[in-house]
Each structure stands twice: as structure tokens, then as C-alpha cells.
Amino acid sequence: MNAQGQIVKVGIADMNIAKAPDKIRTSGLGSCVGVVLYDERSTTVGMVHVMLPDSSLGRTETINIAKFADTGITAMVEQLKIEGIQSYKLKAKIAGGAQMFQFSSTRDTMRIGPRNVEAVKEYLKKYSIPILAEDTGGNSGRTIEFDPTTKLLNIRTVNQGVRNI
């Protein structure tokens, strides 16, 4: 492993774990929410790219657990536990949940961004995981990258530049 590190990619409705000096990134978040779980004393972190609020919305027999806020967060907490990180030590940073299009319609799917954010917060609360930083809502797409060394979440948008939270 070189000191430069690699970028671990997380796809849409996907999850992964990264260890320093690697960083972990998910690209082009719209209504989806990127959730980073980490322990301040560890350089092993997890990221989930949540697409839907609740696995009860899934209508297939086998579900992709990373797709939903509830199953995705649960699975990541479990995976980090296998990596030796206890859930009571976990902190979260989240970003995404934008409303990419403005419609007059009030159909439920049109509000999917805010619903994803609400669901993520609810499940983090269930595990008593505090959210130390968030950049959610609005109407911009985001690419996010977390550095397990600095614990900073880098957020890049097309119209509002780059920032670290």
C-alpha cells in the first residue's frame, strides 16, 4: 500500500469500506443520500449510497440491502463491527437528498430526496449515532469523498463549488 492511497468507489445503491490512506467516494448524488459512518479513533470507515427510504418499499424477493436507508445503515453498522468498531463509537456525516427537478406535482416519488434524508436520520437515531455534519436538501447534485485520515467529507457541486464538512 502506498502512502498516496486509492479511491474506493461506491456505486448507486452500493456500500463499501475504506481504510486510510485510501479515500472513499460516491459520484453524482441527486435525491440519494451518501452516509459515512466512522469512529474518530479508527481509520476504517464505511459509506452507503442510499436510494430509497425503507426496505418495505422493495417488491422483490431478494433485496439489495445497500439500496435502502434502514437495511443499508444496519448492514454497515454490522460490517464495521466485524472490522472491530463498536456501534456506540460511531459518528456520521451525510450529504445528498436534493430535489433535482421542480414540479408542481405532489406525487410521493417527487419528494424522494427529503424522504431519504428523514429516513437516514431516523435510522441513525435508532443506533444513537450522532450526525456531526450534513449537507442535505437543495437542488444540486453532489459528489462526495471522505478521507479516513482527516475525517473530512469533501463535497463537490456543479454550481456551488467545493467544500469540506
Partner: protein, 210 residues
């Protein structure tokens, strides 16, 4: 419900033919609007993962002007008209005759934004009405919405409905090729037609395919 496992290569060929018919009409409409030769063709119809769908559109972070609309009627689904932002700028400058127009300045003029929406309206309208004539199915596009942003952020919105039942999407991709411009500049725009899974039965039935 016909999806995932039951779709054969013959079904995909039928969908490709549908796409070609829609594309031909939309190309004519766009050529007339811009007074230049525009070619549209359907490079592929396939079932892809959500991540592959983003790659088809140029990678999740590429910046596009994207029009999204819902399709209602006998067939339901999502439709996107996405153009790399430089190409959208060129088209809109020509349409509104304002050489300074730029989607990337943050503050997009209302006339430019509505021209883009209208462009999406005309093209998707001609595309979908061709499909409607061909299949004799009722297909109504909703008013389009515009977003200038990362293509991943834009397209994932249209995958939400579908993601309830699948991790794959059947995409009818239509590439837009502007002729008479140097190849490196003639970046391709796309129409993406994403029928809702329930709609495939209706489409195949209308065309007499089992």
C-alpha cells in the same frame, strides 16, 4: 409481469425498432428547428445496472442540461433528454440568437431555460407521438422539467420508481449526432426512454410479440 428474466434478445430488438421510429421523427424536428442536419440513432437497447446506466450517459459526474418528463397513458415511464452542457449552450444560443447564453453561469436567463424546455418538449413530443402512432397506444408526455447538473444526479431520479422492483433498467438509448461539425466537437446528446416495468406487457402486446 414481464421484466428482468423474461426479456429476450428478440424483445430488445423490438424495442430498438420502436426507438428508431421515435428517433427518426425527433431528428426531423430538431433539424427543422436548428436548420442543420441532425442524425439520431439507437445504438443499443439493453438491460443495464444503474451504474452502467450512468456510464452510458457519460459518467455520473459529467455536466449536462437534462430534461426530464414522465410518460402517462397506456405506457408509463420516464424520459430524459440530456445534452453535454457545451452542446446545449450551442443549441440554445442558436435558438434564442444570443451568443452570450451560458447554462454554466449559475444564473440561467429565463428565456434560455424555457427555450431548452421547449426544445425538450418538441423533441420528446415528436418521439413519443411516433411511438403512439406505431403502437396505437395512448402515450402522453407531462410538461418537462429542466436541470443543469451532474448526469448521475439527474438520471437517478428517473430510476427511483423502478428501483422498487429491480436493480436493472431497460434503457432505450437514442444518440443525437450533429453532422458537419468536427468529430471531437460533435459530442452526443441522448434520449433515454425508461419504460416502467408494468408497461412492457402493453408494448409487446400492442405489437403482437409474446
Amino acid at each position: 409481469m414481464m421484466y428482468d428474466s423474461k426479456i429476450t434478445s428478440m424483445h430488445l430488438d423490438v424495442l430498438k425498432e420502436i426507438g428508431n421510429i421515435g428517433a427518426a421523427h425527433a431528428a426531423t424536428a430538431l433539424s427543422t428547428l436548428l436548420n442543420k442536419k441532425i442524425d439520431m440513432k439507437v445504438p443499443k437497447v439493453e438491460m443495464v445496472s444503474f451504474d452502467d446506466m450512468m456510464d452510458l450517459a457519460g459518467g455520473p459526474e459529467s455536466v449536462v442540461a437534462g430534461i426530464y418528463l414522465r410518460i402517462e397513458g397506456d405506457v408509463t415511464g420516464s424520459m430524459f433528454f440530456v445534452l453535454p452542457v457545451e452542446q446545449a449552450n450551442r443549441f440554445i444560443r442558436r435558438l434564442v440568437q444570443d451568443e452570450t447564453f451560458d447554462f454554466q453561469t449559475g444564473e440561467v436567463s429565463e428565456i434560455g431555460a424555457s427555450a431548452m424546455q421547449e426544445l425538450g418538449n418538441i423533441l420528446s413530443g415528436s418521439y413519443l407521438s411516433a411511438l403512439s402512432d406505431f403502437t396505437r397506444l395512448k402515450i402522453y408526455p407531462t410538461v418537462p422539467a429542466l436541470s443543469v447538473d451532474m448526469v448521475g444526479a439527474i438520471i437517478s431520479f428517473g430510476l427511483v420508481e423502478l428501483s422498487h422492483i429491480s436493480d436493472y433498467v431497460i434503457v432505450i438509448d437514442t444518440a443525437i449526432i450533429e453532422e458537419d461539425v468536427p468529430n471531437e466537437e460533435s459530442v452526443k446528446g441522448h434520449f433515454f426512454l425508461l419504460p416502467d416495468p408494468e408497461s412492457f406487457d402493453a408494448i409487446f402486446k400492442a405489437l403482437g410479440v409474446n
